[in-house]
């Protein structure tokens, strides 16, 4: 995690943050003409940087609304849609495209690979969204009208001795149930939702979650996820990037404020 810069309160900075994935994404008004075959032009444009391609099931829309209850969302259009992944050779940089969404991911695909920092990932998103917008206009399938933006930080935290009930090692205010007759829980999870004021068009929310997980090598970890999602002030790319910058600041502040100071030493907090 690092300071973004600008005339704001200085943000916490960590030399060795536990981040393993960052995703910057935008949802836009559905472009049903943006079928996989129409992505062939993007495939060629991106082939050098992203030589690998995979297909995945599409993600459902995730639109912030004033009701916290799950809502049924109807999308009228062709049923057969897909999500295409464009990956670099190391599979660390990933671009996800579907008819109503673009997301750029950085992933730690090898142990110890350093987090390239927010400006780098933001730059990737800025370039990809510009290229997608140009492609959409050239293909004549519509225009990119962005309705939601989101950023997600996913952190992998190894609790002492793999004890996944130790949420106190992730959340500063978690109180261990030491008096419980069954002892320490084997696993624990927590979820927090915060309204975020002052950025984008309300409602904007931050979702924080701590969940048990297991790495491919079998090590038991806790995944600490922070997501900010909402509508930018308008449907243009500039507003989306401003939203992401502000959302990033909230994520960095929340990461520092919600996690225990004892862990900050492990992550080498610099300020």
């Amino acid at each position: 995690m690092s300071e973004h810069g600008g005339p704001r309160a200085s943000l916490a900075e960590f030399a060795a943050p536990p981040v393993v994935e960052v995703a910057l994404g935008a949802q836009f008004r559905p472009l049903f003409g943006l079928r996989p075959i129409e992505l062939a032009g993007l495939r060629e444009r991106w082939r050098d940087r992203y030589p690998l391609v995979q297909e995945q099931p599409p993600l459902p829309p995730a639109i912030e609304s004033f009701s916290l209850a799950p809502e049924v969302q109807f999308v009228i259009g062709p049923a057969l849609q897909t999500r295409v992944w464009f990956l670099d050779q190391e599979q660390a940089e990933l671009v996800q495209v579907q008819h109503d969404r673009l997301t750029v991911n950085w992933r730690q695909t090898s142990d110890g690979a350093p987090y390239p920092r927010y400006p780098h990932v933001r730059g990737l998103f800025e370039d990809r969204v510009a290229e997608l917008r140009a492609h959409v206009e050239e293909a004549g399938v519509g225009s990119l009208d962005i309705t939601q933006a989101e950023i997600t930080y996913i952190n992998s935290i190894e609790p002492d001795d793999g004890r996944q009930g130790r949420l106190d090692q992730v959340l500063r205010y978690w109180q261990r149930p030491v008096q419980h007759h069954l002892g320490e829980p084997e696993q624990a999870r927590a979820a927090l939702v915060f309204p975020v004021a002052g950025i984008g068009t309300p409602p904007v929310r931050m979702y924080v979650a701590a969940d048990p997980a297991q790495r491919q090598d079998g090590r038991r970890i806790l995944i600490f996820t922070l997501t900010v999602r909402g509508a930018p002030v308008d449907e243009g790319v500039d507003a989306t990037l401003r939203f992401m910058d502000q959302a990033h600041d909230h994520v960095v502040r929340s990461f520092a404020e919600l996690t225990p100071e004892a862990m900050h030493e492990r992550w080498e907090r610099r300020q």
Partner: protein
Amino acid sequence: MTQLLDRPIAGASTLYPRHPVPPAGLRAAEDFYLQGQQPMREIAIQVSGPDASLRRTWLASHMEQQINALLRLRSGWDGRRALPPTDAAVRSAVGL
């Protein structure tokens, strides 16, 4: 009915994906509500020869077997929202 408030987050994550999976029973219930009870269907293909006799050709038998296998598919056979073949689709296939 008390409803759990549960919103999917971080859907675009890939290393530890959080895709919400609706319960199979919920999908079956939704399909029943939208389409009604699906009756069991089966076809038999009979070919009439030039002398109006009914024949049982290999091709007809093979098609019958394949189409009836497809007609036994239930809603959601692909694990998502796929529907079984319609009567019109079956008629078209047989017609071809």
